[in-house]
Symmetry: C2
Subunit: 243 residues, 2 copies
């Protein structure tokens, strides 16, 4: 499993992904699921992935190889003019991987499972956030639903539902995302630290605000402890239910 | 879908079940999923169900009919000596229903899906809480894991994980269970009000503390509003995460 969240806010984007992969409970590993492409001053794109690791890595590799193609005839994440076109490129990379590996996976009774979140900004547009499905089609986050989740989304959804607002500061939204991860980490062993995070400020066209939050991160340790205490206090303050 | 929770605490049991059933999003209805059998002064048993409604209703009907059988040769929920034996009776009713309906369901490509929570106390024992599976086998709640959930358990689990303690008062645990329902109701349309609830005090051998919490319940409305506020306040009190 995996847990990734993307928030599209008035002030920019918050993207976060865990790093645990597993082939069964007895075979876990750490892999990066948050990938960033940047042309400083012009565009920042961030792709996060859930699903079959061989599939998601192939998608990322295809997209990266196309950036470096010397022949500029085919579009790449560095050449497209809008985030919508970038999402179409990602979707088409998903379809390419299916064309390459789909039959062999099916012959092995394995599913072609992949879901991606693509967030970013290209000069001339506002920041945008997309969720791309296994079929290569996609949806876009809007004001009504400013966050998208992939992977193990249920444990961490109630807190996002209640508190997320489009006008939050990025640091505040990042805190909220870490609370959402905290609930998920406690409940699903297949989601694990470290967490990779990107805070993207609108119109900065810079991906410098990236961090990896691991076991020994003092902020995350404080947040976990203090959140448990505050929840217990909040429960205590509500009158008991008596029949 | 369904959401049911049972808590086994030092002071007794808290059992709660929603009442929404659905055959597709366009066909929802209200059915009782919490059933109580009581012999005042001697035993109280409470059964909650998730899964195929035809299956779960048949299980409950089989168990009820056996109570009324004039021939006392076969055991019933009123005659067994322990909760373990009661759980075996429920498991065997599940197997009976599979024997009756299983093949026809399979022929119709429908799954024989049923999960049950059985809580209660029979004189001579402490209160006990069991989860019974489709195969008719079961597990029992213990000090380490004092609550069991069936149905849509994920949204409402983080709050139970963090706050549940075996030495809670029943009214406090009931509040916690309603908070867990509140998160679930917000996130999964197939879980719906009213909620049926039983608070069972150890050694009371009485099921009089039952309530149905509906749309117009002032306690539940206050709890929902006040919980959202407190969560937002708690989030605000934690420092933002900056990179």
């Amino acid at each position: 499993m995996t847990y990734c969240v993307g928030l599209k806010l008035d002030r920019g984007l918050v993207m976060a992904a865990d790093t645990r992969t597993n082939a069964g409970l007895d075979n876990i590993a750490t892999f990066k699921k948050l990938h960033v492409w940047e042309k400083p001053g012009e565009r920042v794109l961030c792709l996060m992935s859930a699903g079959n690791l061989a599939v998601t890595q192939s998608v990322v590799s295809l997209l990266s190889e196309r950036l470096e193609a010397t022949d500029n005839s085919s579009p790449s994440l560095y050449s497209v003019d809008t985030m919508f076109q970038a999402a179409r490129l990602v979707g088409s990379a998903v379809r390419d991987v299916r064309a390459i590996d789909g039959d062999a996976l099916a012959a092995n009774s394995e599913s072609f499972a992949v879901t991606l979140l693509l967030g970013g900004q290209i000069k001339g547009e506002e920041p945008r956030l997309f969720q791309i499905y296994s079929a290569g089609n996609f949806i876009e986050a809007s004001k009504d639903t400013p966050f998208l989740q992939i992977g193990e989304h249920k444990y961490g959804k109630p807190i996002l539902d209640r508190v997320t607002q489009s006008d939050m500061r990025l640091g505040e939204a990042a805190k909220l995302v870490l609370l959402s991860f905290n609930s998920t980490l406690r409940s699903n062993l297949s989601v694990g630290l470290p967490i990779d995070m990107l805070l993207y400020n609108s119109d900065s066209f810079s991906a410098e605000r990236q961090a990896r939050i691991g076991e020994d991160d003092p902020y995350f340790a404080d947040l976990s402890r203090s959140w448990s205490e505050k929840l217990r206090d909040a429960v205590t303050e509500i009158p008991d239910f008596e029949i």
